[in-house]
């Protein structure tokens, strides 16, 4: 028997049978769960804290007031924009009504 043949035979006969501890998988999942819950606790804790501050009546009233003022301001700006556009259209309508050339162009 040549040395190579002997080596090949030994390699064929060799097998590995790893033995993991019973608790291995459980421990891994536990570690993952602990990390995730820690992260969630961090976010939810921050949210709860922010909410508890914001929902204090004086802060809630201030936020409500700010929202009212903002919505009023936005409505005013939007209305101004729409009104100026309508004003331009009305001007064009009047000018067209006395300009036969434009009237003929519109009627085409």
């Amino acid at each position: 028997m040549k040395p190579d043949d002997e080596l090949k035979a030994r390699l064929r006969a060799w097998s590995v049978d790893p033995q993991l501890p019973d608790s291995f998988q459980r421990a891994v999942w536990q570690r993952i769960a602990v990390r995730q819950s820690g992260r969630k606790r961090l976010v939810s804790g921050w949210l709860e804290e922010a909410l508890s501050v914001l929902l204090q009546p004086r802060y809630a009233a201030a936020i409500g007031g700010l929202m009212l003022a903002t919505s009023l301001g936005l409505a005013h700006l939007q209305a101004q924009q729409v009104n100026s556009e309508h004003w331009r259209v009305l001007e064009a309508r009047y000018t067209a009504s006395i300009n036969p050339e434009v009237m003929s162009w519109i009627e085409r």
Partner: protein, 158 residues
């Protein structure tokens, strides 16, 4: 905390209601003017601060000018249609094309003169400063007719 939540929700609802109410209230008069047929004249009344008497006289002038304006509008339409047809039929600047173009230009000049004459009469009914401002507006439309007529057509729905 509960009281705060109620306050916040009331704030949100009130803000939305206030936004809609203010917007509708602020845009309703102008939207109404836009819908009514005489919106252009109503615009003139407000823009040039016309008194009721001035407005009545200008309205009358406008009504008496309207038929002549409509006749000229037809003339412009006919002249333009003829010009288009002649341009299509010819393959160069022929005598026929020149004649059609001159006819179209003459009609347009007639229209501009009629509009200017009407503008002078209307401005004479206004207070001097408003009349001057009105004439300046008409002059700018005659010299630089880059008015937003696309918007006019789209709003009027033709």
């Amino acid at each position: 905390m509960r009281k705060g939540a109620v306050l916040l929700i009331v704030g949100i609802v009130l803000s939305a209601v206030l936004y809609i109410a203010y917007y509708c209230f602020a845009t309703a008069p102008m939207a109404g003017m836009l819908k009514q047929p005489g919106g252009g004249l109503e615009w003139l009344r407000r823009e040039f601060h016309l008194t009721d008497a001035q407005y009545a006289r200008i309205h009358q002038l406008h009504d008496s000018y309207a038929p002549a304006c409509a006749r000229m509008c037809e003339k412009v339409t006919r002249a333009n249609a003829r010009l288009e047809e002649v341009i299509r039929r010819n393959d160069g600047v022929t005598v026929e094309v020149q004649a059609a173009m001159e006819e179209s230009a003459a009609v347009r000049r007639e229209c501009s003169l009629a509009m200017l004459a009407h503008a002078y009469v209307v401005s004479a009914e206004m207070s001097p400063d408003q009349g001057q401002r009105y004439l300046e507006m008409i002059q700018s439309r005659l010299v630089e007719p880059g008015l937003d007529y696309d918007a006019l057509v789209s709003k009027a729905g033709r």
